[in-house]
Amino acid sequence: MKLTLKVWRQQEAGASGRFATYDVDGVTPDMSFLETLDLLNENLLARGEAPVAFESDCREGICGSCGFLINGVAHGGRPGTTVCQLSMRFFEDGDVLTLEPWRARAFQVIRDLIVERSAFDRIVQAGGFISVPVGSARDGNAILVQKESADTAFDAAACIGCGACVAACPNASAMLFTAAKLMHLNTLPQGQPQHHLRTLDMIAAMQNEHFGSCTNHGECEAVCPKGIPMEFIGSMNHDLITAMFRRRRERPPAPDVGKQPYHEIEETGSRSRNK
């Protein structure tokens, strides 16, 4: 089959971009969407034009590298599918498709379809972990974990950090991503000691990264390739309220210079993790 692709081309961060239109012939139903882009790039290279830059690595839906909008929908809109898993058998000869990078203030476009998602790493740095120096752990079976909790933690931990939730959200909010990490760690018994600090710190970090707030559109859940549910955001909000209440009753630890907590949390003076 033959497709027409309108692809966002942008040389580098800050440069202005534009759509370029390309026809790709010889696409077969057993190809994947990224293999179609590979084919386009081979053609471009043969013509002496710069190939379209896009990210991918595992090409099996697990690394979270890939992702762009196809006709405005993150990952192309098939349930539970990243764009690298998207098969061409779902497209038809003559289709015209528009490909754009994630659009969000926190995700700068660095070339064509590639955006910078390091904001997610910074959210994790703020508290997305359980502090356990190597060598200090007890026997794995000394901690009993209810199967239900293990399963819920797993469902949340399945997030691949692709950023589709942010791209789909009209406010470019990172709530679903952050909620997934919190749900993973806050659900497990091992995660309890840092439960409140983690909640406050990660939410503060998220607020610092130019992500918008959540107004319950639900677009994030609809495009999430790993089926992370919106209800995790509800749990996160609940955790936040409990954490703010608990922390207020404690003596405020010294604030951590160098990090800028968001205003509400600043009042409670949390950021003691490094002390």
Partner: protein
């Protein structure tokens, strides 16, 4: 030729070697640690674990990855599980048994002392990961669940659905990010190592290229660790992530690190067969599927009936038939070769005839569809996404694909290469799997290296060597930077006609056909003629559009392929030299009348470590003899 290499194995009984070695190693005072800098290249399981652990100890760590985040490393894709000798099942497992299975599984081509240590620390890995919050599968009583995995008869594999690698990597990534947050580790993402810098015979730094701006820069340190993964992508089509490559270890090899057993590559039996000429990679179906799936082909060749129309009596469950005691669970190399044989006989299935069935009908009848889904649901989903077929209703089709490389940079017991100060961890080294790796053992090894071995051996190196303070103003850095910049200029300047991918595909096909699942004197000699021709073509006819001073993915690929084109030749040289069959290395000249591999312990019980002698000179072979004191040579039989 052939100076003998010494792995520096500690003396004493095998159970005491690591303990004694740890005690004898020198320590660095906590207040001095911050003054020592360590570069870790790679943020997969091995690299992230090492960076986090060394950061926790207080060293000044800089971690480099070409990915945009450590969480993208190829380790994320591991599915099946991780081994540990916990014996939670009371089914006869022990450190010794895991050690024994690994030596035997590796076909007696690994070091006993290393493997024993791996088995010993395996239990600590599970503890560490559980404490970090890795959501391993649990039973209703709240205890950790395990399953059995290819090639062994105990249930020692811990797993997190079909995404064990993802969960373990997230654990290590989170520990790493915690250290980044506290400032002990600095993370350099989108930075690709393109050379190692040696000063006074020691590894003292690296040269990297920033993949966004194209800027080439140097970084100095006391120690350099490479944890850069394996080189299966030399075959172009493999189960590895697209960007996995050999550049870091190959650049180190060219600077003096010996390359061990390059021909030991693992072909995994259960992958989705190739379906289109544009296919860019192969997808693994976890080997855990062989626990409940039955492998078969039609008895008659050329039988094109749909699988469900073929009656039981006309099916050949060839693994169960040939290997009654292990059945579908024989190790990977054995299963892959048996699969290839039935396909070569013309009994393969699917459009290309390169496939066999993996059938769950019996498992669904025995358990229930729900129970089967609980174990394998996500794998059935992956299969359906790719092939459009429902494996509950029709058997899956599978075929072997390149998957893992046992070969890698030679390291001693401390995981140090032949370049002092250059340590190598994870799949990038050759250390523990001999000629064949058992399922669920790579994750174990990567984490063992990163969490439990390097954090001892690196401080010992720092404490026992006088490391003069240097920075990147040392002329060795300028020289290495100039080399890198020159190479980038040369690649961009070829201005020929062929795309990097087209050459890579051709290289991959050559290696798969001539140095793949079976190898012969003749095939290897043909490969040795072909690879240099391809290299010639690459350097004369490559096309890259754009420059080195921008984000340029074609250039990135080209640099990696240039290194694969050199490594491929060394793989063939090594395969030609080793005239025995062992593990994943099957020489057609060395087999029984029934087609089983024949090892030659008398002549080949050694590690082949190759030294680079320059572009136009043949590499020199060094041998490290392997002695087996605890596990005695026996033909590896799974009958």
């Amino acid at each position: 030729m052939s100076a003998m290499l010494d792995g520096g194995i500690p003396s004493g009984p095998i159970e005491q070697k690591w303990g004694r070695c740890r005690f004898e190693m020198m320590l660095v005072n906590p207040s001095n640690r911050r003054k020592h800098s360590i570069i870790v290249v790679g943020a997969g399981l091995a690299g992230a674990a090492a960076s986090a652990s060394l950061g926790q100890q207080g060293y000044h760590v800089r971690c480099f990855s070409f990915h945009d985040s450590p969480r993208r490393a190829h380790s994320i894709a591991a599915q099946g599980g991780i081994n540990a000798a916990k014996n939670y099942r009371n089914d006869g497992d022990s450190t010794f048994r895991l050690f024994y299975d690994t030596i035997k599984g590796g076909d007696y081509r690994s070091r006993e002392a290393n493997v024993y240590r791996l088995a010993e620390v395996s239990v600590n890995i599970i503890d560490q990961c559980v404490a970090q919050g890795v959501p391993f599968a649990r039973e209703y009583g709240g205890l950790l669940d395990t399953r059995s995995f290819g090639g062994v008869q105990v249930s020692r594999t811990f797993y997190a659905r079909g995404q064990t690698g993802q969960q373990l990597l997230l654990g290590a990534y989170q520990a790493l990010e915690e250290q980044v947050g506290t400032g002990t580790v600095t993370m350099h993402t989108r930075s690709e190592l393109l050379d190692i810098v040696i000063v006074d015979g020691k590894a003292r730094g690296i040269v990297t290229r920033d993949l966004v701006s194209g800027r080439v820069s140097s970084h100095a340190a006391d120690v350099v660790v490479l944890a850069t993964g394996g080189y299966s992508n030399v075959f172009y089509l493999s189960t590895n992530a697209k960007a996995s490559n050999c550049t870091a270890i190959w650049r180190a090899h060219r600077r003096g690190a010996f390359f061990a057993n390059p021909c030991f590559t693992q072909i995994h039996p259960t992958c989705i067969p190739l379906s289109s000429e544009h296919q860019s990679k192969l997808t693994l179906m976890s080997e855990s599927l062989r626990n409940d799936g039955r492998v078969w082909v039609p008895l008659k060749r050329g039988d094109k009936r749909p699988p469900n129309d073929i009656p039981e009596s006309e099916r050949d469950y060839f693994l169960e038939r040939r290997y009654p005691s292990f059945g579908n669970l024989v190790p990977r190399d054995v299963a892959s070769r048996a699969t290839k044989e039935v396909c070569d006989e013309g009994r393969g299935v699917g459009p290309s005839g390169l496939g066999v069935y993996l059938d769950f009908a019996a498992a669904i009848a025995r358990m229930s569809r729900e129970q089967v889904d609980e174990k394998y649901g996500n794998l059935f989903d992956i299969y359906e996404k790719i092939t459009g077929e429902d494996a509950h209703a029709v058997p899956m089709r599978i075929y072997p694909a390149p998957h893992y490389t046992m070969g890698g940079l030679w390291v001693d017991y401390h995981l140090m290469s032949t370049i002092p100060g250059l340590f190598v961890a994870g799949e990038a080294n050759f250390s523990d799997h001999g000629a064949n790796r058992l399922g669920a053992s790579a994750l174990m090894q990567g984490l063992a290296d990163g969490y439990f071995i390097l954090p001892y051996t690196i401080p010992d190196y720092i404490a026992s060597n006088h490391l003069a303070a240097i920075d990147t103003s040392h002329p060795a850095f300028a020289a290495a930077e100039a080399d890198v910049a020159e190479r980038v200029r040369r690649l961009v300047g070829i201005r020929g006609k062929r795309s990097p991918d087209s050459i890579h595909r051709e290289l991959g096909k050559t290696m798969w056909d001539l140095c793949g699942m079976s190898r012969s004197d003749q095939s290897l000699r043909r490969a040795l003629a072909k690879v240099p021709e391809l290299r010639e073509e690459f350097w004369n006819d490559l096309r890259i559009v754009g420059s080195g001073e921008e984000l340029n993915q074609t250039l990135e690929k080209a640099g990696r392929i240039a290194d694969f084109l050199e490594l491929a030749e060394l793989m063939c040289i090594d395969a030609l030299d080793r005239t025995e069959s062992c593990g994943g290395h099957f020489r057609v000249e060395s087999q029984t009348s029934e087609g089983d591999a024949v090892r030659d312990d008398e002549h080949f019980s050694f590690v082949s470590a190759w030294e680079w002698k320059g572009q136009n000179a043949p590499p020199e072979l060094h041998k490290e003899p392997l002695a087996f004191e605890y596990v005695h040579f026996a033909p590896r039989s799974y009958k």
